[in-house]
């Protein structure tokens, strides 16, 4: 049942990727994080239902001995693990600052730009403001009269990561 659950999870993750790519063509940028979350929850539910219903003798030549709960856990674990590998790759393409610098340089004549063109107050603002607005959209910050303040959710998130920074002695970072 471990293998059967993993196969079910793998199939549902494939469906998730296809639907996520499709959703990028349909939904506006501001809603994409929410859509991503909805799609992965749907994939997890699909994997759960499949694991609950798939017959024991699904794979020819393979006699399954396990309890169905093993298939359920295996399916959910497979979807979750694939998702946590997929998400960083997606966000590198969407919002990585380092990736953005490389793309900008590659697009320039002879692959070269003055340092001021790559790093200037205008560039900084174009990076920082959308990030702050993205956090407003996800409920971590609120914006009023051009001033950003943390919401209770944002405060809890910040507190958690400040604790990790202290635990791992990482310094302010960023």
């Amino acid at each position: 049942m471990l293998l059967i659950g993993a196969l079910a999870g793998g199939r549902w993750f494939g469906i998730f990727v296809a639907s996520h790519v499709f959703s990028l063509l349909l939904w506006p940028r501001q809603q994409r994080s929410r859509v991503l979350l909805m799609l992965i929850v749907a994939a997890l539910i699909g994997a759960l239902v499949t694991a609950l219903l798939v017959p024991h003798g699904m794979l020819p030549g393979l006699a399954t001995t396990g309890h169905r709960i093993v298939a359920v856990i295996s399916a959910l674990a497979t979807v979750s693990c694939c998702f946590i590998l997929y998400t960083p790759m997606y966000y590198v393409i969407v919002s990585s600052l380092t990736g953005q610098m490389l793309v900008k340089l590659n697009a320039a004549d002879d692959g070269s730009l003055p340092l001021d063109a790559l790093a200037s107050p205008v560039t900084y603002r174009r990076i920082v403001e959308p990030r702050l607005d993205s956090m407003v959209a996800s409920g971590l910050l609120r914006r009023q009269d051009g001033v950003y303040r943390a919401t209770p959710k944002g405060i809890r998130t910040a507190r958690t990561f400040r604790y990790l920074k202290a635990l791992w002695q990482l310094g302010p970072g960023g």
Binding site: I93, L97, M101, Y148, G154
Partner: protein
């Protein structure tokens, strides 16, 4: 279930080793050191799976990995995902996440909050957003992806393919402006 239990134990054990390493050793290239520790853990986990009984001394027959050969594959697969998608990402986010650092800065400003200009100048305990940019650029130079010469930044030939792939993917996915 043995696969999941052993992979989970590997994760907890690694987290302990990772925390001790970061706290006790003066590590310069932290991410590289974390990867090296993980590479050592992989054969250890495989050995642990091979040497331990299928029931781990307490699992009933219907909860054991089946087929048995897939248990080891699944266990190592979980550990790969758990490290690259979980622990390493958590470390990277905590150490250098741009949005996270902005969130912490805004939180520390309290009810007064921060307008964009102050968020940029006060970024990361007052270091400023230009410092962050310089850090990213230094990393690109150290990785051999760009070079800086006479006030100009030039992409290395080896980095062009990566840049083209990202550009193509962004076009296919209609991602528009960077965020």
């Amino acid at each position: 279930m043995k696969a999941i239990i052993l992979a989970g134990m590997a994760g907890v054990g690694y987290l302990g080793v990772m925390t001790l390493t970061l706290r006790l050793l003066p590590v310069k290239e932290r991410a590289l050191r974390l990867l090296q520790i993980w590479l050592v853990s992989v054969p250890l986990l495989g050995l642990a799976y091979w040497l331990t009984p299928p029931d781990l001394g307490f699992l009933p027959a219907e909860l054991q990995d089946d087929p048995p050969w897939f248990g080891l594959v699944f266990c190592l697969g979980l550990w790969v995902a758990g490290f690259f998608g979980g622990l390493l990402q958590l470390y990277n986010l905590t150490e250098r996440g741009l949005s996270l650092r902005l969130l912490i800065d805004v939180t520390e400003a309290g009810e007064a909050g921060l307008p964009v200009e102050e968020a940029m100048t006060g970024y990361s305990d007052g270091r400023g957003i230009a410092w962050m940019f310089g850090k990213r650029l230094d990393w690109l130079v150290a990785a051999g992806l760009v070079r800086v010469d006479g006030g100009r930044v030039t992409i290395a030939p080896s980095a062009r393919r990566t840049a083209r792939r990202i550009t193509w993917l962004r076009g296919v996915l209609r991602l528009g402006e960077w965020t």
